[in-house]
Symmetry: C2
């Protein structure tokens, strides 16, 4: 066991021990051990208007050891909790795949496996997260790592000083776990964060040294940003008071990425508190841009049925439903009948997006909220 735990680890470990103590206490009192796991379903998710993000309701599901239909998931819950305990005590982290392998074994005197496959383990990890009110990262579990960062920020990562303004063309690879125990912000002269959807667009902005000229931090998440990137944006926004502007494609997928950054994801509503950025702005691309930027028909990509269906769903999200500009935006997308990628701006000029589009929109404060 690691000799000294940091404060956060000590706290998480305390919660894990309390969970274990409850089992022992129940056994001592000859009661049926159980856990009440907050319900992770759409019915138990609501949009909190004052906090402006998605959060979980108060419903819970009881999971009892001595109940034939619940015993397996009770066992799995305890197993994941014991795995997290082991990780924290050893001062190590692992992927959800790693945890699965760590915990998977044939149960003694039975031919049953603790987990059949990864898909049986993942929801239990989420159960333990909500049960302990701990982010996955606090349980020492990491998600896939992708996305890079450059810009006017000096940070410390595991004792190494990293100057994001001197990261060349490659950039600093955003880690999966960016909690304050790992990453500390040291100095920041950036005025905002520009988050772009794709690595290819990020490269254009980095090559044009947009972040230097406009004093910002530049991130991407290779599509839907992974947890590490979302948490990094959250910290940059809340701790350094940096506005976050999102440059995404003009399609339902772009809207959805924005929605997750802003309000949190429906599946993982319990993490919104430390992930969601209600003040994040949608800088573009917008449905009006085809006309406004004078683009040619060649760059249009026709909407398909899935696009149309998704667009209508997103228009009905409670945080978009009562916002006229968003209704107009999505309505116009459907009326246009086509979508636009950020890369389409290349048809104007290679650096149109960095030299004209983005600076103009920022200056005019022309974004969706």
């Amino acid at each position: 066991m690691k000799t000294k735990l940091n404060k956060r680890d000590a706290q998480t470990l305390k919660r894990l021990k309390e969970l274990a103590d409850e089992v022992v206490a129940a056994a001592d009192r000859r009661r049926d051990p159980y856990v009440d796991v907050p319900t992770r379903s759409l019915s138990n998710v609501k949009y909190n208007k004052s906090k402006r993000f998605i959060e979980m309701g108060r419903n819970t599901n009881r999971r009892q050891l001595f109940n034939l239909s619940q015993a397996r998931s009770y066992m799995q819950t305890m197993l994941v909790a014991s795995g997290a305990t082991q990780l924290i005590e050893q001062g190590k982290t692992t992927s959800i795949r790693g945890l699965y392998y760590l915990l998977k074994h044939t149960i003694e005197d039975a031919k049953e496996e603790t987990f059949e496959d990864q898909s049986e383990c993942d929801p239990v990890i989420e159960d333990v997260e909500v049960l302990l009110n701990s982010l996955r990262e606090e349980l020492h579990l990491y998600a896939q790592k992708r996305g890079d960062m450059v810009g006017e920020l000096l940070l410390e990562d595991s004792g190494d000083e990293i100057d994001c303004a001197r990261m060349g063309s490659g950039g600093y690879g955003i880690p999966s776990i960016v909690e304050p125990e790992v990453i500390q912000f040291k100095k920041c002269s950036a005025k905002f964060v520009l988050h772009v959807e794709k690595d290819t667009v990020w490269q254009r902005f980095n090559e044009d040294k947009f972040w230097r000229k406009h004093h910002c931090i530049l991130t991407h998440g290779m599509g839907q940003p992974p947890r590490g990137v979302r948490r990094m944006l959250h910290r940059l926004h809340h701790e350094l008071n940096l506005p976050v502007y999102c440059l995404l494609d003009n399609d339902p997928w772009g809207y959805y990425i924005y929605s997750v950054i802003k309000q949190g994801s429906i599946n993982l509503a319990f993490e919104s508190q430390r992930m969601a950025i209600p003040d994040a702005k949608f800088l573009g691309l917008r449905s009006k841009d085809f006309k406004e930027c004078g683009l040619s028909d060649s760059v249009k990509i026709n909407l398909n049925d899935t696009d149309r269906k998704r667009a209508r769903q997103i228009a009905n999200y409670p945080w978009f439903l009562h916002k006229k500009p968003w209704q107009k935006e999505i309505h116009q997308l459907l009326e246009n009948g086509f979508k636009l990628e950020v890369e389409a701006l290349v048809s104007k000029d290679l650096s149109y997006v960095t030299e004209h589009y983005t600076p103009q929109r920022l200056k005019a404060k022309d974004w969706l909220d």
Copy 2:
């Protein structure tokens, strides 16, 4: 136009101009302009036993302007060449998606588009690469960016000094274009490169500071490594004389990743010369590891029909066909009837792979070649 071109750009530009000059010359002589594009098909690809990588044969396809069935692809070839010229002259790079948008337009006096979609543009880019004997990166085009690097290497990227030994938990994001004009190696005390398949495994090795203890460079490519990572490995191997060891899953996909790193890809055989690393070693996982590491049945993943088919195909690759250890390896995989992921070693211990498996195999020189 950029005032001063670097040597490589000047060379590529010269080739592009020669191509254009040929068109003009043909027109002046009232001849039919054409290009002879080296054939990029399996029939024109062969394994060069002395160079030990896949290379293209001498077959070419003629593409004529005044031939109804070839005029379109002739036009597209010239268009891509002109796009690359524009990029080099402006000193800018773009993604293949960006180039597509740059070149896509409705042909004057016709309703035809220069390219219907990306899939019509991509093969033409490859045509121009082989036609000019220039890597895509030399045409200022970049592929997707993914993969990270840490280790005992100091490099310069676009004027920024990057110490890969001080990159925290995030690492240096390997750029798409790592040509010597962008990246220069400054100082290296690493003795070898360990390339792992997945970001999650990379994180384990980085967290355990394996590269510091064993004096190496640690890379991953998030599955099949993108061109930037392959080219980086190639340069580390050939310029710094570092052996490259690959730690991949024990399945046909792992074999295939190794095969591409080692011999090049069949689709893009012309780039092998500057991408392939014939001396790269396959460190594991191996089919013998289930027994040798004493793994439990729980970590087995059954082979499916596709796996079996792919395994047999790979066993017949000319560079594996006459190697007994490889035949034995693949035969045993099929006999086992299951595959193994690197993460399966977690079932032994979280750091089994970094503290036991990899050091032991390196020490014993127990790898496949």
